[in-house]
């Protein structure tokens, strides 16, 4: 047993020291009829070499973005991950530590989280950020609870252009408290005051917007948030950290709570997790913040140090009065994001943002010339756009996959009705050749009369 040091001899000696004659004597508290008498029906332990072979065989059955150009997004993106992120994050010091409950021996983790909070607050131009939540959907769901707790209201309005996966999570997590949700339509893929105003009333706790929105469209938040505030509701913005090098931050427009998915920041797509729920808010709301927060303090020698702070919000202190039940969060993923943002810096983030925007503009312009393909939305797109393909999007996806391209996310996979809709995403890792291949395969699809 390569992970268990004690040998049968050690065991016998220890049992003797304990004062029992057999291991079974330590189990007297377990009633006989509850003791499992059979061996577990799980194959016997294998050598590391065998384990690797079995795992690698499963990995090889998947078509993946590292060998196939990937144009899929919808909340999860194929951005480049620099080697230094992997090298630093695989250090045992970060990977194998627990939550920093003993700050004297956790200054590494604590300072990283403090730096992370600063970076997230800079990206979104918000005064307070926490140490992370499970993912984008859970961050939204905590924002909804916070808004309801703060306003003492229970109705929430969101737009159709908020990621449906996040909305599903936020609904699941909040319905037990009687929170109800209304969805504002988005004509032409834009979030508009007309559509939202129809649903606004005195009992609305918050309005949720996405920026850039689910369809990649960049809406002007200023007027939207002003209108939301006139109704006494909070403005929750689901935002994309990757766009913050090129787009004005939601904090500039008066957002009360900004949440988002931080996977793009130095993390792999990894089939949906582990991801990174980002959460930032105004100082007015900080005492309702869910999850861990790190603050600066001094030690006995007046030296700067870091600790978990405002812990009286948290479950281990406040139990049933806590602002959230979250305990273990996504520490190492936040750590990776910190390394990533440190490497990339302000210039790198701007460059990546422009690279994504330019690629999206290019592919749109090329696909416009292919008969049968349409673009329901106008307006500026960041990284992602909705494409109407000839026929069913799922069939087009299969055609493209068969030719080695992951062409986008068919909207039906998110439970949306639009059978022709395909959400196409372009990160800085999509080359000119990838995009030209996309276009020629699309032409072929039409020419071969598949449609």
């Amino acid at each position: 047993m390569r992970y268990i040091p004690n040998t049968p001899d050690d065991r016998s000696a220890m049992l003797r020291d304990i004062g029992v004659s057999s291991f079974e004597d330590l189990l007297t508290a377990i009633p006989k009829d509850l003791r499992y008498q059979k061996p577990l029906n799980i194959a016997p332990g294998k050598s590391e070499w065998e384990v690797r072979r079995e795992m690698e065989a499963m990995a090889l059955k998947n078509q993946n973005a590292m060998s196939t150009p990937c144009f899929m997004g919808a909340g999860c993106y194929d951005h480049f991950v620099p080697s230094a992120v992997n090298a630093l994050a695989s250090r045992s010091e970060y990977a194998t530590a627990y939550t920093p409950y003993q700050p004297e021996v956790a200054q590494g983790t604590l300072q990283v989280i403090y730096e992370f909070q600063t970076m997230i607050s800079e990206l979104f131009a918000m005064p307070a950020a926490n140490a992370s939540l499970y993912d984008g959907g859970n961050a939204l769901s905590e924002a909804v609870s916070m808004a309801c707790a703060h306003t003492k209201r229970r109705r929430v309005v969101w737009t159709e252009a908020v990621n449906p996966a996040y909305r599903r999570v936020a609904r699941t997590n909040n319905v037990a408290h009687g929170v109800t949700f209304d969805t504002a339509p988005c004509a032409n893929g834009c979030q508009s005051n007309e559509d939202i105003a129809m649903l606004l009333s005195e009992d609305v706790a918050a309005v949720v917007l996405q920026y850039p929105n689910f369809y990649g469209v960049v809406d002007d938040l200023k007027k939207l948030i002003e209108r939301i505030h006139t109704a006494g509701a909070l403005a929750i913005v689901v935002s994309d950290p990757m766009a913050m090098g090129v787009l004005a931050p939601p904090g500039r427009f008066g957002a009360d709570i900004v949440v988002g998915e931080g996977q793009s920041l130095g993390n792999f797509m990894s089939y949906g997790g582990p991801y990174l729920g980002l959460f930032a808010c105004t100082m007015e709301l900080v005492r309702l913040m869910p999850g861990r927060i790190v603050g600066v303090t001094k030690d006995l020698d007046r030296k700067r140090g870091f600790v978990l702070t405002l812990q009286t919000r948290e479950q281990h202190i406040r139990r049933d009065k806590a602002t959230s039940n979250v305990c273990t969060n996504q520490g190492l993923i936040a750590t990776r994001a910190t390394f990533y943002l440190s490497l990339v810096g302000p210039q790198g983030l701007r460059d990546i943002g422009n690279a994504c925007g330019r690629r999206a503009a290019y592919l749109i312009s090329k696909l416009r010339d292919v008969p049968g393909f349409g673009f329901p939305h106008s307006g500026p797109h960041f990284r992602e756009f909705l494409l109407r393909v000839p026929g069913k999007a799922e069939e087009f996806f299969d055609h493209m996959a068969a030719h080695g391209v992951l062409a986008g996310v068919p909207l039906v996979r998110l439970g949306l009705a639009d059978e022709r809709g395909l959400l196409v995403a372009l990160t800085e890792t999509r080359t000119l050749e990838d995009m030209d291949l996309y276009v020629s395969l699309a032409q072929k699809y039409v020419a071969e009369g598949k449609r």
Binding site: M1, Y3, P5, N6, T28, A29, I30, L34, P39, L40, G45, R52, E56, A59, K61, A65, M72, G73, G75, L88, S92, E93, Y98, T99, V105, A106, E115, M119, E122, L123, A129, S132, D135, N138, A165, H177, V218, M244, M269, Y271, G273, P274, V286, K298, K303, G305, F306, A322, Q330, G331, T338, L341, S342, G345, G348, L349, F382, D398, T431, L432
Partner: protein, 491 residues
């Protein structure tokens, strides 16, 4: 001068303090000149750039390597943090989760392009069902607390289906903080019952508390005192007779593998922490993974999507009208699923049992060896962890905090302290199966020395630690003068 002769005790710069205009640790992949510009209206453009650090790659690496050395971690030394199962995290598991065929998958890829990933989740599910003796499972919850919450929503849906969601969930006073917090989130009230004098659930108190408003009971087994709830069958029967459901907080499953199964005990649901029992690294606070295993009567309420298997393929089933919804944007922390399955394959069924046996022996060994100096809260054989009280040391003027801080000077991470709340001056020690007898003996020696110091020089302990990167920190001051980011202003 910032540097100190003891380099580890020098005050470290923050990454923002290392920033210099124009430096960078990144070069973006090229964009062809043929591509149009990114057009965005002026009012939506960012004017003031976010103040991210401007540093080279080597500066980044040196900064974070230096910071890392200020952490205690399981690869460095003993970490007997009770309830957290700080076991060794095998290296091959991390490599497996980084395989391109796993790390490079977009979650919206369908069956045909992601069969291997789904097979992996299916195999993991099967193994976890075998260990727990349950009927069905979801891997979606991202941590234990989320598993609790998801299961409570399933309880609610179950009762709702039977006409009435009911009002309350019962927990013992030894319950972990996430239990009551999850209960509130699921829309229930908390009824907390005092434990009996043996630290177990008080069945008489339970009987009195049960009525038709009780939706269920949440109980940790073995409980947070490291004790197996011997009356568990009776307890579960009582709750079932009152129409309630029973949840096992499975944070302590490291004591039970191949030894006793929650499903056979009669539990309706339980979560596992893959980041405890199944060796996935804790990452300084996650990511974890908290699958929930259930009995068949709850299957229809499982979160969507549900992983299914036909002869031909694995698929995601979204068409589940009675489902509670989703608690994660995708399928949970898949990277942790990969690691856990690699671990299970390495250990095998017999190995899993060996884990629990060794964890139990190690805990009892410490119980026996420490009992001459420290009060064992319930002095009976324990399961995978032993709970001490620092009462004897308190009489010498030394608190459990002081003992904990002094351990740091010896390079050992302290046990969990002041939890469970029902134990005065609590020290909760979970050695895990990963530790050798020699490590345990060293720990015992250190604990004995600290006890002697408590008698001889209590003031020494009250100022400890002395050798760590920082000394004791002013936590109250941090909350009073809240400083949670580097810059004072917002741009």
């Amino acid at each position: 001068m910032k540097r100190n002769i003891l380099a580890l005790q020098s005050e470290m710069d923050m990454i923002f303090e290392l920033s210099r205009n124009g430096r960078s640790g990144y070069q973006v992949p090229p964009t062809s000149d043929q591509l149009p510009e990114f057009e965005i209206p002026q009012e939506l453009r960012r004017n003031a750039a976010p103040r991210l650090p401007e540093v080279s790659e080597n500066t980044t690496v040196r900064h974070y390597v230096n910071l890392s050395t200020r952490n205690h971690h399981i690869d460095k030394d003993f970490y007997p943090l009770g309830s957290c199962t700080m076991k060794y995290n095998p290296k091959v598991n991390d490599e497996m989760s980084a395989l391109p065929g796993f790390a490079g998958l977009n979650p919206w890829q369908t069956g045909a392009t992601a069969q291997g990933a789904m097979q992996l989740m299916y195999e993991l599910s099967d193994a976890l069902l075998e260990v727990t003796g349950m009927d069905d499972i979801t891997l979606q919850p991202a941590a234990g607390a989320q598993g609790e919450f998801a299961a409570l929503l399933m309880f609610r849906a179950y009762h709702q289906k039977n006409g009435n969601p009911r009002k309350r969930i019962i927990i013992p006073d030894s319950a972990h903080g996430t239990n009551p917090a999850s209960i509130i989130l699921a829309g229930y009230a908390v009824t907390q019952l005092p434990s009996d004098s043996n630290g177990l659930m008080d069945t008489e108190a339970l009987k009195r508390a049960l009525d038709e408003d009780v939706a269920g009971l949440m109980i940790t087994n073995p409980n947070t005192l490291g004790l197996f709830e011997s009356n568990i069958s009776k307890i579960i029967d009582l709750v079932h007779e009152a129409g309630g459901l029973v949840y096992m907080d499975g944070a302590n499953l490291n004591a039970l593998m191949g030894i006793s199964r929650p499903g056979d005990m009669g539990f309706d649901a339980c979560h596992m922490n893959l980041h405890k029992t199944f060796s996935t690294p804790h990452g300084g606070g996650g990511p974890g993974s908290g699958p929930v295993a259930i009995k068949e009567k709850l299957t229809r309420f499982l979160p969507v999507p549900v992983l299914t298997k036909t002869k031909a393929e694995f698929a995601w089933d979204w068409d589940r009208p009675d489902s509670i919804g989703s608690v994660h944007s995708f399928y949970g922390n898949f990277g942790m699923h990969v690691r856990a399955l690699a671990y299970i394959k390495s250990m095998g069924g017999d190995g899993l049992r060996a884990i629990s046996e060794n964890a139990i022996i190690n805990a009892n060994y410490l119980r026996k060896k420490l009992s001459p100096a420290y009060q064992v809260f319930v002095d009976k054989p324990c399961m995978h962890e032993v709970v001490l009280s620092g009462n004897l040391q308190k009489q010498k003027g030394v608190r459990t905090t002081d003992i904990a801080k002094r351990l740091l000077d010896f390079g050992i991470h302290p046990p969990t302290v002041y939890f469970p709340l029902i134990v005065p001056e609590c020290l909760m020690i979970e050695p895990t199966e990963s530790e050798s007898r020699e490590t345990l003996d060293e720990f015992v020696e250190v604990m004995m020395q600290i006890d002697r110091e408590a008698s001889e020089s209590p003031d020494l302990l009250k100022q400890a630690p002395y050798t760590t990167p920082v000394r004791r920190l002013d936590e109250a001051g941090a909350a009073r003068n809240l400083n949670i980011r580097f810059y004072d202003d917002i741009r």
